[in-house]
Amino acid sequence: MRHRKRTAKLGRTSEHRTALLANLVCSLIKHRRIRTTLAKAKAARVVADKIVTLGKKGQEKDSSIQCRRLVAARLQQQPRHHFAKHNGVSGKVQRDEWRQNEDVVRILFEDIAPGFAERSGGYTRVIKLGRRRGDAAEMAILEWVKDGDMPVRESKNKPKAKASKAEVVTEEVVEESTTEEVAEEAATEEAVEEAVTEETTEEVASDETETPEEAAAEGTTEEPEAKSEESDDEPKSADEKKSD
């Protein structure tokens, strides 16, 4: 009997599901935020948190290689040694570009995991976007949590302190004003980062206009987002690409 087994199956076989989650987490590592369905985002954040835990463990010298291999296995990453000269671009240049932009294990261990040294769990955030047109699936953004990028609401802990009702009301009023100030500050800060968000939305928008074949025909950077939006035939195309 399938009692108390809470793993989200996502309507896929286990191989299909691990491949999907690996692809989602890879694109989260590469692009820092991804847009998928809510169910996939919630399933992927579990994997992402465990991967970051491994990444933090691997900051120590003696466990580094082991953790890197575990991450590579979980994210289904093959080691790449050979970069042939292609279209006049030397193999060394291609290798450096790959390490910079595509090498998920390197990005995790050098760019992402050190930023979470102070945080114990809860490395990702899911923001709901509403339902998408077509199949009315609830969409969400999955992104890494950064310190101070969301105003913190403190009111959740206050009612547990069992204050009397009148006190709670006055406290809430005060908190609302403070959170608004924080929100305004955050808004001005975010205006600087708008360029970054613009990029991501443009990618999303361009994906929507593309047919799956076009998205598959393009480079591998486009592929994960297209995958997260489309459903079943996508992982097959991804497998084909890996074998290429």
């Binding site: 923001i127 709901k128 976007l129 509403g130 953004i141 990028d149 969301m150 105003p151 959170t179 608004e180 924080v182 929100a183 305004e184 955050a186 808004a187 975010e190 205006a191 980062e193 708008e194 968000t197 613009e198 939305t201 928008a205």
Partner: protein, 62 residues
Amino acid sequence: MAVPKRRTSRSRRRKRLASNSALTLPQIQHCPQCGEATQAHRVCPSCGFYKGRQVLTVKSQG
């Protein structure tokens, strides 16, 4: 085996369907940033703000 004795009348059928299969509208709130109607706990689709932070940039239409 238990079998219905009477056919369900039009009135009974309609009363049942009216209450048991009625759709409900989602709760609507107003965006504190731009005032548009939005759903709770979701990014505002017209300005892209959520919890006082720009989450998306929304393309203006037309």
